[in-house]
């Protein structure tokens, strides 16, 4: 059957990855009708939600697993995937198992995680540092120190797209990378507002202040434009999730040679396992419902996982696949994954409402002269009222 799949994967690397999913699904005799909506999840999600609540759902749709689709699931608009999961024995193959938790509500499974995305990466342009005459940094502090030299060489030290989610992503990286696992979990997970206003967080906010200074002159909106600045050597580095790697790959760059990646911003070696998942709205058409199951299966098949994730630059959700072809950076990620240094992602820990508020705060911080102290106070307040 023809299945319409909506997603917001439209950048070069993403599109190439999605093509793999489509190819695999088409191979089963069905047809993947692509419903890409450009301009990040923020643009796409409202459209998807309207379609689903409007009674004209697509056959499958991308969400970041976590709490974005919680209410849709609770209102019975999404399909229960328990049977497929049981048949395919997902419980055993999915690694880390916590991924499935994000897809589970009241003991039922509602989504298919397709990759593991980790936010905690600093992408550095070797070219830029060479031009500036400094060594490629190995951690955040070195990166900050290299700032003036980069600037002198006419580079933007830190490329940062002017959108809230990118900024709060950077912030989260700093929390985890500089503050460590406990701080991250207590603040984001337990909503500990005392800690959020405490001294440890103050350090993070100071680093955020540095980041603000470094990112001056970064006149781009979208993350991939920021990445493009790093690729072209116009910028020193960018803090962005592993999907940025897809862009380097499309541009023909080689990890370690043309660019360097620092997990956990070179600090604490943890990654959060956010990721993309596909939800399957409940459909009335029998044939399409069948095809939905096929699609879910296909998405998790080892071959698809490898092909998809190589293109996407993310990690596969199965521990049992062979990633020979993986490059330097992916291997670093895989290593961390093996260690089990995996935490829940912020998307799972915070409601979209809180996330939006946090994004707003970060936007404000980066576009105004708000002091780190004031920002921290506001942050603590926000955490206190988070749900």
């Amino acid at each position: 059957a023809d299945l319409e799949v909506t997603h917001w994967w439209t950048s070069g690397g993403e599109a190439a990855a999605v093509a793999e999913l489509a190819k695999a699904f088409d191979a089963t005799g069905n047809k993947w009708v692509d419903g890409a909506i450009a301009g990040s999840g923020d643009t796409a999600r409202p459209i998807m939600v309207s379609r689903i609540t409007g009674g004209d759902p697509m056959a499958a749709t991308q969400f970041n697993h976590g709490r974005q689709a919680e209410e849709l699931v609770a209102s019975g608009l999404m399909r229960n995937l328990d049977e497929v999961a049981a048949a395919e024995n997902w419980k055993d193959v999915i690694n880390p198992p916590s991924l499935l938790e994000g897809c589970t509500l009241d003991g039922h499974l509602y989504c298919v995680p397709v990759n593991i995305h980790s936010w905690e990466w600093l992408w550095l342009s070797n070219q830029a540092f060479a031009d500036a005459g400094v060594a490629v940094p190995t951690n955040w502090d070195e990166f900050v120190a290299a700032g003036p030299a980069l600037e002198k060489a006419g580079k933007v030290p830190l490329a940062l797209g002017q959108q809230g989610w990118q900024m709060s992503g950077l912030f989260k990286d700093l929390v985890l990378g500089l503050g460590g696992k406990d701080l991250y979990l207590k603040v984001y997970g337990d909503k500990d507002s005392d800690l959020a206003g405490g001294a440890d967080m103050a350090k993070v906010f100071k680093a955020l202040g540095d980041a603000r200074t470094l990112a001056k002159g970064s006149n781009v909106q979208n993350w991939n434009e920021a990445t493009a600045m790093v690729i072209s050597g116009k910028a020193g580095g960018q803090a962005m999730g592993d999907w940025a790697q897809g862009e380097f790959q499309v541009a023909g760059q080689v990890a370690g040679k043309d660019y360097t990646c620092l997990a956990g911003l070179g600090g604490a070696q943890y990654i959060t396992t956010g990721g993309d998942a596909f939800y399957f709205p409940a459909l009335e058409d029998e044939e399409k419902s069948k095809a939905q199951e096929v699609l879910a299966e296909v998405m998790l098949s080892p071959e698809t996982q490898v092909a998809f994730n190589l293109k996407k630059g993310s990690l596969p959700v199965r521990g049992d696949v062979n990633l020979e072809a993986a490059n330097d950076c992916m291997k670093k990620g895989l290593a961390i994954l093996k260690e089990g240094n995996v935490l829940k992602s912020a998307d799972e820990l915070l409601s979209p409402d809180t996330t939006t508020q946090l994004n707003d705060l970060m936007s404000e911080f980066f576009s105004t002269e708000l002091t780190p102290e004031d920002a921290q106070a506001r942050f603590a307040e926000l955490i206190a009222s988070a749900d």
Partner: protein, 301 residues
Amino acid sequence: MADPVAAGRAEPRGTRPRRALSRRNVMLYGVLIVVALYYLLPLYVMVVTSLKGMPEIRLGNIFSPPMEITFEPWVKAWSEACTGLNCDGLSRGFWNSVRITVPSVVLSIAIASVNGYALANWRFRGSEVFFAILIFGAFIPYQVMLYPIVIMLREIGLYGTLSGLVLVHTIFGMPILTLLFRNYFASVPEELFKAARVDGAGFWGIYFKIMLPMSLPIFVVAIILQVTGIWNDFLFGVVYTKPDTYPMTVQLNNIVNSVQGVKEYNVNMAATIITGLVPLVIYFISGKLFVRGIAAGAVKG
């Protein structure tokens, strides 16, 4: 009173003014030309950029004419640019836009003109109240109505269909159009209406045989407003349609925002021009009638 010699001269006082190059004319046309340049600049930039190759664009001067004209960006924008897996550029969206715009324009104008006619000539108890509410609707930000409309369309089972979108466009076009038509028909002499009634024409007879043939200017205004409005609509197009019925603006947005590495400004500009072409052409063709219609429908109260 002044110099008697001067006063006594048979020569006219003051100089014969207003030759072609008088100061006034220089000022007047000077200002107009400068302003016109400001208005034309973006169009110029769009066209010029769309004809350049990416390497030339990176050189940075957006105002310089292309050194080497290339139509590749146009071709790409029209038929090759990708969104996700669909690499057929704007071409698909174009026909969708036509399929959305034509019925929406026809339906909304048909309904609004009848409403305006009824309001102007067949007022009944309460008609003005409904009209006032309608005008209030002109101010409601579309975003606010998005959700209620989703629910309404779901309830009447039109969500996601082309008819649903046409309906939405008709509804949101109604306030301003009704206002225009009402004002226009109100400016038609009432005696004409009375004469037709004495001649035995009814509500529809008068509308079709008397009012319609007289309303070309206001129809032109309505058509221009609606074609531009609906053709350019993004929000409803993206919320109330599916990928295979996406209108051109949604495709445009997808192309422009689907950045693959570096932004391809030339393709973006070409896509932008192509998207704006239909309303522009309609506007250029009927601009004169537009002004006349505005004078008749918007200004008279």
